[in-house]
Symmetry: C2
Subunit: 235 residues, 2 copies
Amino acid sequence: MTAISENKRTQNIAETIYQRLKQDIFNFQLLPGDRFSETAIAQKMQASRTPVREALYRLERDGYVQVHFRSGWQVRPFDFQYFEDLYDIRTLLESECVRRLCASDDREDRLAGLMTLWCCKDEQRESNSSVVAFLDEEFHFSLVESSGNKEMVRIHRDVCERLRIIRRLDFTQAGRIGITYDEHRQILQLIMDSRCEEAISALSEHVEVSKQTVRAVTLHRIQEARQRYRQQPEH
Amino acid sequence: MTAISENKRTQNIAETIYQRLKQDIFNFQLLPGDRFSETAIAQKMQASRTPVREALYRLERDGYVQVHFRSGWQVRPFDFQYFEDLYDIRTLLESECVRRLCASDDREDRLAGLMTLWCCKDEQRESNSSVVAFLDEEFHFSLVESSGNKEMVRIHRDVCERLRIIRRLDFTQAGRIGITYDEHRQILQLIMDSRCEEAISALSEHVEVSKQTVRAVTLHRIQEARQRYRQQPEH
DNA sequence: TGAATACACCTTGTATACAAGGTTGAATTC
DNA sequence: GAATTCAACCTTGTATACAAGGTGTATTCA
């Protein structure tokens, strides 16, 4: 009801439903393995099946849900290998961009913005974990954008989008914010000094830690959500 | 009419239309920049707009067409920067896989199939350009599959799929077949010898040549198709 | 009591009707 | 003659009706 009525002045019910379903999956209101039908979603969203189907097929291509022929839809079960594969790709793409940055002459100009943001005094550091999570993503996006390869940017954003469902849990852990600042600063400094391999190592390690941290947290959160679900089942 | 009536025993009109539209784009029967409506496609395919829309949204996500709000669809104009970006990503992904192969102990087993196929005697070489084009793709797929990273495989296949529209013109050029065989053999040999950087160089060069060859051919073919179109316009 | 079968219901796939708004071209006015 | 306005048509977005087939349950038979 809400999402539809605050219908952005133009029309894109399909887009709205897409966003809302993704949110539901991200917030573990739709749990991995859950099954549901197009009609049920349509009723919940107070819309017809047409935009619902459009949204679902987008989510299917994104890898979040899968359709069973004439037998309903299902939230794709969690697969940690899947996320680790994505992390590997992220590392590969960003490493390549670091390599190109180190070899470029104008890296000072390209990195100016990031330098002032991440190499600041301790008291100027952001402390809100949501904001830092956002800035962290921007940091990695910027690295890839510096490559000038639009398709690489697109793929990287896509990979990060898939990872966001678990990454956003990262900064809820104590100490992660400070570590992130330190590591970003170190990476930038190494790039500026053209110490390419060291920069790539630092970056890879940075991502690896994030991966490990998230793995434990996510398992915990899914467990938690499943508990809640069992206590007050809606159907 | 044909594509629909030979309707695979089950139903997937949307899938059929998707394939057929993509073919039309690949064969330059739908030219970059062409505009068309859902209704027109539906009539041509003798189906309703519903599966047509599903197919078109898939093609949009694939990057082949774009929708103009309440103003029809358009085949996305050719953008060589786009294809060169894709070639760069391909090179990056495959290089990484070569690197991993060189570092692995069981590369002999993993590459056994490719070795017998590409390091054969001259008289055993395939001469049909379509077949070689297919085998060439399989060669590069196999390299990436050896990484064991399913998502990297998926992205690589996706990139290759986007490139196929221009790559398949490659092997129509005289001499390309022999060169492909020679280069594949060289790359495999370098990997087997664990000469990692040399293997990557050879691979990168191999892809680069393909890129250059295709660029000229494609420009020519589009020109050609546009001529035909002007001579016998259907509308 | 258990297994098998049939039927009712539910699912997605497809076709079609309707709505809202963009485009185009002709008519009208200056 | 040129510019502007308005209306008819065409476009996609959405809702709904219908079709084909999968699922599960209840009933029946052994």
